[in-house]
């Protein structure tokens, strides 16, 4: 029987617009080799190396930067602009403060570099001598990871209006695989990069996002998505794009599974440019023969319930903390808030009492939200407490405040609502005895942690129950499924899960009403039809059971178990020739289906019965 365990992950997608107060010039506390500012600053000797390293990746034809910065002429025609934007640290965009734990691909200018731009402009933006000019950076044209094995394009373009506020659009990509495949990389080509602020791929293993499309392939609007998964298959990878990002293959062993029914949902934050833009993104898929051997997990700290920010409040604090039940390596971090977010910080307090800043963004700007990967994995032992500390500004002084005048703001999915999320990509260290999947222990503890914050958290009860069910703690699992159903009596998935759980515990009579409730809530729920049919068989109610197996098969014509069990129920009612047909179908779907084979052999051994 199928016990469906849904790990509900609310995924965040982010978005933008202007944030916060004017960036004050920040002190750079990193120890930079302080090269003295030369008496005369020239483009060729002093400016070009900085532009080539920090700017040209985006500021070149076809990329997101609004103009190229590749030559002296390019830079001279923007000299004051460059000096002004770098001094405010608006460019290059890099939000985190310098810290001990380094990030990969940091884009932070030193104070000395910023001073060079100022002096260059003051002195008349001189070119200098040709011998000083370093070679221009070379960028591979087209796909940065080489020719993809498969390119998928969004079925229909989205037309972004010329003006208006920021837009969040989701494209659903049907994946072109005919069997389970492993991906070593996905490269995102978002289309017109000048209007795309960032993009995020969510793996939808259950095609659940399709329900939001008005017609297949049309895509749908929305800033934040919730993707449901029916198996224990927690999100594991950040699949993120922002202007200038250097796409990288996943680390060895961390390939991403793609099943035939997997959809990839690309959530994009778009900003009108002044003219109508057609956006039709492409994904480049790079396959590998090597299945995943390492299983990272995205952990989410959050405290949306604390978000109830009065109008005018300038310093509203939201916190959460979670203690790791296993050793992990922290690979990447993704803080997320909307327009009222001001100062976002995450800390790790190790069991020995020492503390590490994981990230600190003193001037949050949703426009430039990003996934930050650590230069090296950060080992965090069991017992480490990760804490987030987010400060929100709901006053009129916060220029990004979407409400004028400010109004009370609570958590929600719209850009005018708020969020307090911190995602961490962690790689759990394998348990010494290999007896349990450390991801499940993390998920279980996370669900308990969430129930501590909110005893009426439906998803936490559901997820906790699913983890408990999987590790055989049946009685406690049933308790939490019951609490989930109590919180949402109309939820088909929860009713089905409770029914299935009771069924597994042999409590058939109690299970049946919940399975019927699941079907009342959702007539086309495969799992509920199948589980109910199994329950009815246990009560020898074969005729009713047959009806539900047939309904299940109509929904999933390629389910070998449903075919085999239908055959069994038909055989019980004496319809042997029809039963034989379904055993054969089950075997066509799965030639190794043991039950179908045994039953088929049994009724074939008794050919006289087929006359009936």
């Amino acid at each position: 029987m199928t016990l469906s365990c849904r790990s509900v992950v609310a995924c965040l997608l982010g978005f933008s617009s202007v944030a916060g107060a004017v960036l004050a010039q920040q002190r750079d506390t990193t120890t930079q080799p302080s090269s003295p500012v030369p008496l005369q600053v020239t483009f060729n000797r002093d400016i070009a190396p900085i532009l080539f390293h920090y700017c040209s990746r985006c500021h070149r034809p076809g990329e997101g930067g609004p103009f190229p910065l590749l030559t002296y002429a390019d830079a001279k025609a923007r000299a004051r602009q460059i000096a002004a934007l770098t001094s405010k640290r608006f460019m290059p965009p890099w939000l985190p403060e310098p810290q001990e734990l380094r990030f990969a691909d940091e884009l932070r200018l030193s104070n000395e570099q910023i001073a060079l731009f100022q002096k260059w402009v003051e002195q008349g933006a001189l070119e200098g001598v040709p011998a000083d000019l370093p070679p221009a950076p070379q960028f591979a044209p087209g796909w940065q990871l080489g020719r993809p094995d498969e390119i998928i394009e969004a079925k229909k373009p989205y037309t972004l209006p010329a003006s208006g506020s920021d837009m969040y659009w989701n494209f659903i990509f049907r994946t072109p695989v005919d069997r389970k495949r492993w991906l070593k990389a996905i490269e995102i080509r978002p289309g017109e990069k000048r209007v795309v602020h960032h993009a995020n791929i969510l793996v939808d293993r259950n095609q659940s996002a399709r329900r939001q499309e008005a017609e297949p392939g049309a895509g749908f609007p929305g800033m934040e998505l919730k993707i449901e998964s029916e198996t224990f298959d927690p999100d594991s990878h950040f699949l993120f794009w922002k202007p200038g990002i250097v796409p990288r293959p996943e680390p060895e062993g961390m390939s991403l599974r793609l099943d035939t029914e997997t959809d990839l949902v690309l959530n994009m934050h778009l900003q009108p440019s002044g003219k109508t833009e057609k956006i039709q993104p492409n994904l480049g898929l790079y396959f590998t023969d090597k299945p995943a051997t390492l299983f990272p997990l995205l952990l989410q700290l959050e405290n949306d319930r604390q978000l109830d920010i009065p109008p005018g409040e300038k310093h509203f604090l939201v916190t959460d903390e979670f203690t790791l039940p296993v050793d992990v390596d922290l690979l990447a971090i993704y803080p997320h808030a909307h327009y009222l977010g001001k100062d976002l910080e995450a800390l790790a307090t190790l069991p020995d009492g020492s503390a590490k800043t994981l990230i600190h963004i003193p001037q949050w700007d949703l426009n430039w939200q990003a996934v930050y990967r650590y230069a090296d994995p950060v080992p965090l032992p069991k017992g480490t407490t990760i804490s987030m500390r987010y400060v929100y500004d709901n006053s009129g002084e916060n220029l990004a405040n979407p409400n004028d005048p400010p109004r009370r703001v609570v958590a929600g999915n719209r850009s005018s609502d708020e969020m307090a999320h911190l995602w961490l990509q962690v790689l759990p260290r394998a348990s010494s005895d290999g007896a349990f999947d450390p991801r499940m222990l993390l998920q279980e503890n996370m669900a308990r942690h969430n129930l501590g914050k909110n005893p009426t958290d439906f998803e936490a009860h559901y997820n906790l129950a699913a983890m408990l069910q999987t590790r055989g703690a049946q009685a406690e699992a049933i308790q939490h499924f019951e609490l989930a159903v109590h919180l949402r009596p109309q939820d088909a998935t929860a009713n089905n899960a409770l029914g299935a759980s009771l069924l597994a515990a042999g409590r058939i009579g109690e299970a049946i009403p919940y399975l019927y409730a699941a079907l009342r809530a959702q007539r086309d729920n495969f799992d509920a039809h199948y589980n109910l049919a199994n329950a009815l068989v246990s009560q020898d109610r074969f005729v009713e059971a047959i009806e539900h197996y047939r309904a299940a098969i109509r929904l999933h014509p390629d389910d070998a178990n449903a075919e085999a069990n239908l055959g069994g129920a038909l055989a019980e009612t004496g319809k042997l020739s029809e039963a034989k047909l379904h055993f054969q179908r089950a075997l066509r779907i799965n030639p190794n289906h043991k039950l179908a084979r045994e039953n088929l052999e049994q009724i074939t051994r008794e050919p006289k019965n087929l006359q009936q």
Binding site: S17, V18, A19, G20, V22, L23, P66, F67, K76, A77, R78, A79, R80, Q81, A84, L85, K88, F90, M91, A162, S163, S165, R194, P272, S273, G274, K275, T276, Y339, D365, N367, L399, A400, N401, P402, D404
Partner: protein, 198 residues
């Protein structure tokens, strides 16, 4: 007596020459600008004030490659359509590098339907006292500069735009030019420095 009459005339002639010198000095600032001129897209000299006798003149300075001025395109077009023939509305491209063909393409791309001028020598930039794109200048019917600066307060700084503008200086200034009411204070715009184009 003769001597006396000479001395009596001398101060007068000095006074006259001083007046002449003063007049020349007053004319000096205007003569160099007179040599600079904006251009129509066909390359002929353009004077947006000559054509607009008795009508207010609005100049909006933009650049083909300035993301902030581009984002304003729909609003600039909307305001210009709204006032129709009551004011003379011009887009001004202060970049030497922007060819007439590039400007025509830019107008098509961004849906501009108003006439465009090139201002490679910054004749109009100087006259309008603008610093960045996009900024606007509004001249009244007598072609006195009433307002120059931002279009509205959507942008507070680079990368810091409000969800929506809360002031509308360009619109207010045009209404002031038409009605004789007090124009708004000049407010600096946020955008791309025109001085970078020198």
């Amino acid at each position: 007596m003769h001597r006396a009459s000479l001395t009596s005339q001398q101060p007068l002639s000095i006074f006259l020459s001083l007046v002449v010198a003063a007049l020349i000095l007053l004319k000096l600032p205007s003569s160099p600008t007179a040599q600079k001129t904006a251009l129509h897209l066909d390359g002929t000299p353009a004077d947006p004030f000559l054509a607009a006798s008795g009508k207010p003149v609005v100049l909006v300075f933009v650049r083909t490659d300035c993301p902030i001025s581009n984002r304003y395109a729909p609003l600039i077009q909307r305001i210009s359509s709204q006032y129709g023939a009551k004011v003379d509305f011009w887009l001004v491209y202060p970049s030497r590098m922007a060819s007439a063909e590039k400007i025509r393409q830019h107008e098509r791309d961004y849906g501009y339907k108003l006439p465009a001028l090139r201002d490679p020598q910054h004749a109009l930039v100087t006259q309008a006292q603008v610093r960045v794109t996009p900024e606007a200048a509004v001249f009244d019917a007598n072609h006195r500069l009433l307002y120059h600066g931002r279009i509205d307060d959507l942008y507070v700084d680079f990368g810091h735009a409000r969800p929506a503008a809360t002031t509308h200086e360009l619109d207010d200034a045009i209404q002031a030019a038409l009605s004789g009411k007090t124009p708004p204070h000049n407010m600096p715009g946020v955008g791309c420095f025109i001085a970078d184009l020198e």
